[in-house]
Every structure is written in C-alpha cells, then in structure tokens.
Amino acid sequence: MACKMASAHPPPLAVALAGLKAAHPMRSSAAASTLLLSVALTLHPSVAGAQSPEPVPVEDPAASQPLPGAGSAQETQFKPPAAPPPVPTPSPVVIAGEPTPPGTAVAPLVWQRTRFGTFDYVVTVAGAAGTLAAAIVKPRAQHAVGPVLVDEEVRDALRPTSLSVRYKFRDASDVGLSLAVTWPFFVDSLVTAWWYRGSRDVAEQMALVDLEALALIGGIQGATNVLVSRERPYGKSCGGDLPSDAFDCSGSTHYRSFFSGHTAFAFTGAALVCFHHLEQELLGSPWDGVSCAGAYAVAAATGTFRLVGDVHYLSDVLAGAALGTIVGYSVPLLHFPRSPPAATVRRTGRRERVDEARVGIVPTGLGAGVAGVF
C-alpha cells in the first residue's frame, strides 16, 4: 500500500518546479560533495538535517500497524522465485521494518543510480580472478627496495619489542579487516536497507556494488603485491627472533608488503559505508554520519595495527588507505545517477521527493511555455 501510495500521488508539478532551483546545484555536485564530506569525516549538520528523514520511533503504534489492505510490504517485494519479481520503484516507505502510515514525512528508499549490469559483473569477476591469481602466483624474484622516506623512523617508533605484543596487534588488525569487509553487506545492506528500510532492491544493488569494489581493490592490490615484491618489515628478523620455519618467513609471504591489503580492504569498506549512508540516508542524521565516522575509525585502526604489528611500512599503509578510499568511492560513483537526484522540497513540514524527470506546460505572461525538472 505504501508503495502504491508513493507512486499514485506524485508531487504536483508546481511543487516540482518550485524545487527545480534548489535541486540542480545539488545534482551537479552531489557526487563530489559526498566524496569530500566523507573523506573529511565530517557531516555538516545543516546538510544532514536537510536531507535525512527523521526515523519513526519503533514503538510508535501508528507506525507499527500494517496499512489497511496492504497485505504487507512484503507482498510488493517478494514473489515466487520462478519469475523474479520486478523491482518495486519506488519501494515502500519503511522505517524500523514497518510500513509507515500515510502522510509520514519520509522518502522511500530508492536506488537512483545505474543498476548493476553486465559490465559490472565482468569487472567483479575479473577483479576476483585477479585476486585469486595474485594469491597463487609468487612475487617476482627481484624484490623492490625496502623502507622509503620516513618508513624506518616510524617503524622504530611504533614497533613493540615483544613478538607476542606484535602478534596481538596483527590479530586486532584481522578483526578490523573482518568488520570492515562484512559490515557493508551484513549490516548496511541486509539489516539496514532491506530489513530496517524495507527495500530489497536497494539492498541488492548496494551489496553488488560493494562486491564489485572489494573485488576490484583485491585485484589491484594482488597484482601490485606480486609486481612490487617488497619485503615486509619483519623480514629482517627472519632467522633472528623470528625462526626461519615460522609461517611468516617461509614461502613468499614476507615479500608481499606493498601495499597493505588489510588497509586497502578496510578503507574500501569504510568508503562504501560512507557513500551508501550519505547518499541513501539510510538511518538519518546523525546516525549516517556516525556510521561513516565509525567505519573510518575502524579502517584507520586497522592500518595502524598493521604498522605496530610490524607487518607493513608506513608507505604500504598510506598507499592502501589512499587506493582503498579511491576505489571505495569510485565504484559507486561510476554507477551514474539514473535519473535526477531527489529534489527535496519542503512544504508545510512535509518532505517529498521527485524521482523522475517531469515536463509540463505552464502559463506564462504571453501564453504558455514548457518547463520541467530533469
């Protein structure tokens, strides 16, 4: 019902036109703004407040009751699998897993970018194949130089003398990696977009874009690893305080220093979290900003732990962070907006969203003219 409501009562043209002026500047710079805001880990209160829907309290009895005749939001989303259901556009307005009553001042969650297509599948598979191949292929025999610039100084400053402590930081970096990689799928896509906001379509698109970005950074990182073949910082200790039969010293593991995969994956995950939260306004202010900042905090900690664990040099970590961030934002941004971004219109306290291009004839001083929102 909520779905029908959203599509059956489009904003009047006059309202759309009124939003045209405000919508255009935002549209042309939305991607760049999102990127810059996210990288800086700042969420300007006025921007967040203007675009974020106010979550409806979970315990609100009015919000929790299914709409009359709705049969449930699921009926519009789930069909027998023999023929995958068409994507509901726009999706029902769902907050906290419940359809909201008519008149709720919240926009439905709608995927407004190019859908995951054949090219994206190719990129994802190629990235995954590259990742796998790089894991199998040994780094080239000619090893690149060791520390550069301030690498050695930073290592000396951060490296604990105790091997046991170094292992703890390495373990902690594994936890950071795990969180950073799983969060975009399990929490943002599955729990937040699908369950909390009720949009299976957005959840799927988000997850696929996340897959693409992670596969891509995996391929890039793996290939760089093999080609650069840089020795890890602890490599100097092999045969010393690290026995030569330690897994770290055997094989080719210790020639995979540049650039840090943990850091790259963690920053890719953080960028994806930020992008989705800030563009989709998944939770509303201030929680989208908190999610973004938290993701970057985890990523930054992961990179730092790799340094303290003596597994990477500073240059490895910085390169991983930079490339991870670039890939994490570039992949979703390259799914260009499919239709004009939402024109947020404020009228009598309600927020309405223009999701389609609209053209209409309007009276002018000398007759009629054509005006539209594109």
Partner: protein, 308 residues
Amino acid sequence: MRAPRLACLAFVALVALALSPRVAHAQAAAPAPADSAAPAGPHPDFDPNPPLGIFPTSSDALIDPRMARSWGAAPTRWFAATTFDIGFVYGRPRLSLGYGKPFTKWVGIDVNPIAASSGVGGYGGLRLEMAFFDLRVGSRYWFPFNRAYLDPRDSYDRLELERDFGQKGITLTHEAELDVSIPAGPGNILLRGSASYVTGVPDDKLVFESALHVIVDPPFVWRARAGYAVRFGKYSQHSMGLVGDVLHVPARDDSITVRAGPIVRVVLSRRVDVRGSFVTTVISPDRIGLVGGDFTELGVRYRWATEP
C-alpha cells in the same frame, strides 16, 4: 598478505552465492533461531493455516520484519533442513534430518562440513532439540592447513602456533554438548556444558583444537558457559548479552581458560539472522592472542527446511 586476500576473495564468493537469485528467492520453509526468538503471542497478521510450500509466500518472506511465521507452527513430521552460516571468513553448511518441528522441537542427525581459512573438516552426530534445551552428541574431524602438533610445554605463545613443525595437527574429537536457554526477566539465561574427547594426536604431543580454540593435551576437555541475553525489538526477536566460558584440560596440569564477551543476534525473519560474538580470552596458561577466543565477529545464518 596472501591469506587475507584469499579470505576476502572467499568471502566475496560466499556473498555472491548468497546474492544469486536462486538462493535469494528459492527457499522452503525453515528455521528461526531455535524459535527461542519466536514472538511471545500470536502476531495479528499470523495465519494459523498458512500456505506452506517450497517457495516463499507473501506471509513467509525472506526478510520479514513482522516475524509473522515461525518454524514451530508447522505440524510434527519427518523433515530435512539446512543451516548455512557465512562470515569472514568461513562457510558452514549444516544438514539436519529428523522428526519433529525443524529448528524448534525435533530429534535427528546433524551433518556439516566445515571450511575456514585455517583448515577444513566435518561434523556428524545426533541432535535432540526441545523448547529450552539443545543436546548434540557427535564427532568432528579437522584438517588444518598449517598448524602442527605441539611439543609439550607449560605455556605456549602465538609463535608456537605459527611455525611449521612438520606434522599437521589433525584431530578427531568426540563431543557431547548441552545448551540450555531459560526465560528470565527481559531475556534468557544461557547455559552450555560440553565434554570433548580428542583423539588422533600422537602420545607425546599436544594440539590446538580448532573448535574449542584451546591447546589440548588429550583426551579430555570440559567446557561450561553461562550468560544472559536481553531480548529487544518489536517482537522480542533480537537479543544481546554477555557470556563467560570456562574450559578445563585435565591432562594439562588442570589448566583453566576463561573467556568472556558480548554476543548479539538480529533476527530478520525466521530464515535469516545476523549474528555477532566476540568472546575473547581473559585467563589462560597460553599467550596465543585472539585465536584463543571464540568469536565469529559478524556472520549471517540462513535456514531452510522442507514443509509438510
């Protein structure tokens, strides 16, 4: 760096599998967390005679915020069911064959292969699940990719687990485990007791037991867990709490390991829930870091079962 990359790749593959239309759409009736997460009373939308079938219906969605369906609703019968856990980075599909109400009250057998970044293995055994307890008796085989048997020592550090001593630490563990969940106040008291009998280890060696996450001097390991989880959510379907573990290895100078940490479960429907746990070591004779903890971090569980 190879391991994390492979781990990421494996994880991506698992997620891709989960996202594939066939998996995302095709389901049969199945599980809710031991239906301990079932709503206290019938939901207003609940249909007492639902059109149960192999595929989801409007009243049985993959993600169902209303929690309108429960595994306990279908009649007692013979059934086959699966539980599929994925996380970073592991995949653990389980097959259950039994009689009763799947994931709720049933008796039968459990079989599951185990695939993780550190090795592969499998488990098979008998299972009896009732309203407030869950009993498992079975055997688990484990083949580690790297970790080897260990020479006897009073204490081990992480490096002992990260060296190639030659003979891989393969184990066959026979185990009985009883889980109890008792409603109390706004949540449940969680109790677990288990007895493990580790075999396949040379006489003069110890081994890192992969499921218990503890270094064992065979054969016996006793384990006890206690905790409390508060329920929350519109239908009290979610839970969050703290648990503490105590493990005792008699043959290893009566060594005691204590672990504690948070657990959380967000139930998205009777089929799907997201789980997280971080039960890390507090007291131990060893210094093996987080590998000595019992945590899944973040994972997803998907359930399926045949319907009448």
